[in-house]
Amino acid sequence: MNHREAILADVRRGLGRNGEPPPSPPAARIVRPQVPRAARVESMLQKVIALAGTAVHLRTGEEARRFVAALTGGQSAIASNALVLREYGITTLPGVRSGVTEEAELRGLCATASFGISSADYALSDTGSLVMLASPAEARLISLLPPVHIAVVPVDRLLSGLDELFTLLPLPAEQTSSMVFITGPSRTADIEQILVRGVHGPGEVHVVIVGE
């Protein structure tokens, strides 16, 4: 008998089960508060700032382009292939590389760029979190290797929180191999409980919410 069979047999024996289907699990606890858009924006801004990130709410893609241009100041940046970044004209800013589809090239750029620019599929306004689903449009390393992460998020992607997210995406694995919630800059308190930001991930996170 292999380990799989032996372990399953032990589990069943221990529990007094014969492999029959279990009774229904307790219903998942999903409570969706109704939060108006303005309140979501306000909460997102506050939470990100409280986490020592920065957050702004801008009306148009053009404003977002100018904001990102001022942040990067022409320094090296790697931008994801997200459509909105192209739409807003962020991918053609000076110093910004985008449209990379080759892995080694992407790694090299992410390891040396001063900024990583991405969008986010959703944001959780009650915790100030970005929700990133890995896809051909969003590589993982862009929000991870550069020391500064800029996330440009259209306002209609702001959700109230986890409950709304898991209502929209009851089975995230059907859509992506990797879903990550990013809540503020990378941090540690491993030495003497002293908070230090930018351990392995970005030490700075800027959230740019776009749209009325």
């Binding site: 089960r17 979190s129 390393l141 030495i191 409980q193």
Partner: protein
Amino acid sequence: MSARFDQKISETLADPRLQLAIYTATGRLMSHRKAVVSEDALPEYQELRTQASAIKRHTIENLDWYLEEFERNVIAHGGHVHWCRTATDVADVVLGIAKQRGARLIVKSKSMTTEEVDLNERLSHHGLESVETDLGEYILQLMHQTPYHIVAPALHLTRQDVAKVFEDSLGVPHDIVIENQTLTARGVLREKFLNADIGISGANFLIADSGAVTIVENEGNARLSTSAPQVHIAIAGIEKLIPRAQDLATFLKLLARSATGQPLSVYTSFLSGPRKPGEVDGPTEFHVVLLDGGRTKLLADAEKRESLHCIRCGACLNHCPVYRKIGGHSFPWVYSGPIGAIITPQFHGLDSEPALPFASTLCGACAEVCPVKIDIPKILLELRAEVRDVEKQNADGQLERAAFRAFAYLAVRPKLWSRVLAFGRRLPVWPLGPAGAWFSERELPVPAARSFRELWKERQGR
């Protein structure tokens, strides 16, 4: 009590710097937690605990079903599942994958399960370099130490300790600035991430309906370990299952709050397979290693089965008056504090450290803060009863039984009782022998000159 347990406790109590470090760190974690689970901050906190407890109970009681569902879904998304009985089996699986890929360098994110099986040691015997990448764990690996705490592994170390080990092991100048130490580790480990062949992680949850692993962390090292290398291996105990992705809406609200006082940790990853077509990065191979390692034995015990509901938040350690005095390294295994006191004897047998279930005041703080409501004091009492049963069989504890027989004899003879007590009160208090250790930390109250019964008699006579 084993000599080792006794000695470790004495050393910890005698080290004022260590006492302060444990007290400060756990105190800070306690107050952080309190702020985010308060009625104002999270009115639904108790409801979430009840839900989490019910979900865990349901999953554990039907575990075979959810294990198979999980396995089916991992395979459906292009991943592999490996079932392991023992630590050796886990090492063999990793070695097999490494051999197939011609791998040399492994980056590892924090995982208590891999501490359980002493994975790094086993891999290094076979010429593989396996590097811990969580800052605290990295420092501990350089110092050849085990974690002091489930979520704050290096809480017993100072910046001076870190400066010394970085100077000795990495050849960098002595530097006690914590920010610089962090940057040094970032630099060294960044190279490892970019060159590693395999990334190994643990899992906070295994999601049956998705075939996914969920990993909660703050530094980004787990994200890097599971994103940069071509192969990701997640290693988890079989008890980590929950039925549905939607259950995370309950568990994620509890885990980081209970552990570090954060509403969500900085990075929460939900990983369900190798990269999909068209993705530019991410692992091309995804493996999940499911470890028994004594868990099936524990499952068979209906009374204590709930020990397997634990989500490893560490809150019970922070709130335990015993952990806060004796620290993490006094405990005989990688799990310390109240949760360590109940799972260690159940995984390794009572005789591994018979005193462990007694290293508790039964104050109940652990059960009160447990996000999944494990009744730790109840399980400690059951383990104590088992230790006593074993002692009875071994004819140990004769002195104690003789003492109770004497008590029973006296307790039903009031006159003799008061005479014995009157005599006892006149004896000088000299804490000798084993009692000496007890009194080194405490003062014995001086007995009253006259007993309550004497005073009562006098009053009645007036």
